[in-house]
Symmetry: D2
Subunit: 302 residues, 4 copies
Amino acid sequence: MATETQAKEKLTIQQKQLENRGRLLVKCPDKPGIVSALSTFLHNHDSNIMESSQYSSDPENGTFFIRVEYHCDELLAKSEQMEKDFKEIASNYSMQYEFAYPNERKRSAIFVSKEPHCLMELLWEWQNGDLDTDIVVVISNHEDARPIVEAVGIPFHHIPANKDIRQQVEAEQIRLMEEYEVDLLILARYMQILTPDFVNHFENRIINIHHSFLPAFIGAGPYERAFERGVKLIGATSHYVTNNLDEGPIIEQDVERVDHRDDVAELKKIGRLIERRVLVRAVKWHLENRIIVEGNKTILFH
Amino acid sequence: MATETQAKEKLTIQQKQLENRGRLLVKCPDKPGIVSALSTFLHNHDSNIMESSQYSSDPENGTFFIRVEYHCDELLAKSEQMEKDFKEIASNYSMQYEFAYPNERKRSAIFVSKEPHCLMELLWEWQNGDLDTDIVVVISNHEDARPIVEAVGIPFHHIPANKDIRQQVEAEQIRLMEEYEVDLLILARYMQILTPDFVNHFENRIINIHHSFLPAFIGAGPYERAFERGVKLIGATSHYVTNNLDEGPIIEQDVERVDHRDDVAELKKIGRLIERRVLVRAVKWHLENRIIVEGNKTILFH
Amino acid sequence: MATETQAKEKLTIQQKQLENRGRLLVKCPDKPGIVSALSTFLHNHDSNIMESSQYSSDPENGTFFIRVEYHCDELLAKSEQMEKDFKEIASNYSMQYEFAYPNERKRSAIFVSKEPHCLMELLWEWQNGDLDTDIVVVISNHEDARPIVEAVGIPFHHIPANKDIRQQVEAEQIRLMEEYEVDLLILARYMQILTPDFVNHFENRIINIHHSFLPAFIGAGPYERAFERGVKLIGATSHYVTNNLDEGPIIEQDVERVDHRDDVAELKKIGRLIERRVLVRAVKWHLENRIIVEGNKTILFH
Amino acid sequence: MATETQAKEKLTIQQKQLENRGRLLVKCPDKPGIVSALSTFLHNHDSNIMESSQYSSDPENGTFFIRVEYHCDELLAKSEQMEKDFKEIASNYSMQYEFAYPNERKRSAIFVSKEPHCLMELLWEWQNGDLDTDIVVVISNHEDARPIVEAVGIPFHHIPANKDIRQQVEAEQIRLMEEYEVDLLILARYMQILTPDFVNHFENRIINIHHSFLPAFIGAGPYERAFERGVKLIGATSHYVTNNLDEGPIIEQDVERVDHRDDVAELKKIGRLIERRVLVRAVKWHLENRIIVEGNKTILFH
């Protein structure tokens, strides 16, 4: 298995290519002239649009969303001024917006319980250089994943957890999140419920994988309940965590066909493959700034 | 569009090939020797097994299910004696069983409301000779589908329906079912709820198409609610109708990918394609005697 | 089945909504400022961008492609001036471009041989108002489809065809294409090869459905050859017709799973379902001006 | 990552459950009475059929195939006599047949070149106890995979390879295959061609993964060629290796959707996910004795 060093080297090369890349995400009331204003602004700041995707919830008085990826020579030196100059446009159009720079790699933490398959898939993609993030820490309420994590040079923290000590557990988790300066928290089959207080610390920055095709089988035991119901497809759902259990904005879903011969153990086995790919896709899209959360839904710019 | 006559001609040719085919479905407590007993019985009655599928819910004290399709020269002349002789085996193994003969075409009725897409898909497959049934009557609470149905020579009955006159509506429907000697009732987007009394008349013989991936979005307005929830896949489910709304044994499900740009109208358009294929598959499997209902699930022998 | 009149009514309503919609497709050498120039042009001509998708084959000296859909009050009165004014930008950036107006419905012809399933799917979608075109004529080398076509009020022409009379057959076909002012020619399982002369008449305006997953099984008998090879998935491919058989730019492909039990007849039955949906998708995307042909490939703006 | 010891422990537990399980695969000319004879034989030998699947290439003078999985108390003590007794039936029906015992784990070797993704997926599934085999050796023409392999306690042999030294390379490989008593050879992206001599040593026991949807893109550079052709789906194919390059019996295939924006690097990335799951499925089915090779096709009993 590649070491952390190798993974970082691969990412560093990609970084170089990305260092003059910027991304701009905008949300504002739809009205004429927005694209013209944005593209003229970028052009006047020596930036060439590489990718652009937009969506309007309703052409008449709806909300307008856009994601632009642009190239600008010597972007590092220019971005500060650019952001400053942008304020006028933003103000004119009442924009909520975000500038993101792919070469400033986001810092991710992974929470995991006993089942390692989602964690392993994330580490795998990361080692291949396919997950553009620094995985800075893994936290678990069990010791099982320690050897996997430490083998690739990532700090592993064991914080036993249960309902009765939730508050102190979360205090320790938040402390670690801050110590490691975490931007994104990935729940890779972390089977503990988080308190509203914790969730509010990381709004739209916690991605969970739920092992069902939501909104079917919200809550515990989805494979057992899928078996009971006799469904012919099972699924998995990745979503941002909110304070309503399994009700947060859905990022990605997928399914596989099953039949009457598949018992619960077999459903879990098939389900693991779905969970792995659904979580990884969601994390990648988040890291590439392809997601805008709007109400309880996601706008996804592919 | 091919006329009823053409459709019947196509089916007649297939019939000829099927006239020496029999199907035997069995359900009984699992114990050693069942397959041996069954296959020896068939062999001793000059029958050659063409297809055989089996399933045991649990090898230890579970339930055993088998579907056998066999060929027997001059089956028409022999089937009565065969069924008589089978009683001993059936009794020895406490079997529930059914002999079915593909050349005795099942008689189907279709109920439809305003949206014709599922009805049209069924008629289409039937005209192509791909639906091995006689469609003997179509009943609707609206007049919309009359020209489609009468154009292919099938009787169409308009029975207006609403909650207040449910009893008399169902009495008339049951009268027609009996007049037309209907074996299978297909609800091809029939948007009325049936009473327990009606459902009990046709246990495991009413197939419905629900326009969601059950158990998500049970009840009314599934596409509207799928849109609200922001799901990334929408689906459809065909199931046998029981007295619990949208809770009957699932026969088939399928899904298609959607995204944030798809409004409710677009979801419905995509959904129609899913509904069409999911309902047709379920009806075909029923007509081919591939389904055994067990509790609230289906065993499906492909 | 809905009559031609009903289908046209449905389309007319949609038309109204579309009458102030324009689409602009552009292809040019990539360089900075294109999006800015385009969007400012549209803004200055009172046009609001509803949808915009772009692609660059290579940010450094590549080719830039964009599709913009815009709304403009009283577009009908303004479009001529707009197109005139656009010439300057087009010239500055060496653009190839096309303005399209959804309310000027394209006129389609369908060619079919014996198998009607693709023709029927097209007619179905068209009757539902889901195919934004006027189907003005159907031409076949057989009489089989006549009743289907005439039942919905579309002129049907029977032109017997074989290799020896290809020239005179195509002369008659071209005459009809001109008489009916056809914009798009759909080969809905038309099993005759077209000459280069014919194809050149309709460059990038003939869409064919090939009954395999190209480039596997180019040419005749793809289902037979798929059976021989023992593939585990079969497919269909829609593509623009060029003078290299089954080698034109691919628009859409799809597959279904099959297994060793499926004989050639069963593969054809499964294949028909794939062909139907793959052809309809391709035709819709063409009618919505979502396709730009580049070399032997298609750029598809969803 | 779990160690070899842990993986073996998991498999050992499964083994216990499997120790009274037998599998019987049969191929013979189709004629009446085969199932009866087989099932009566098993019943008389205290064996209870757990799963049974059959197929006949043609009911009239075709070939009959069956896979039976049975349970027999104290099978280990009884299997020898059972196999001896079976010879009479086998002779009566001109059967080719094989008895297999899941608790006698097959011994697998993996060949790999530089790209580790298929190797890693196999190791992963094996560590989870989901691949019922002993992976006894990994051989590569490069050093890259050594740390991955040795980390899980499997012997790794580096045998540099090129066209000029093929004979001596294969001699060494065959020597190792014999030393490690290998039953199954998995080519997990081993980018060297094997000689007929080598292939003949392991008839129907070498499984390869080809990175295209065969028969499209036989040979080298399939992703490059898929990109050139502009296909809308890419695929992977697992097959038994024969002496015709990429022409052996297909076991499994799958595809993923791609579009014009995906360059060759992106196709390879998407393709890796397809290759991983297609190869693992094929290997599992082989290990579970679910495959019978017939001519250049596979019969697959699910």
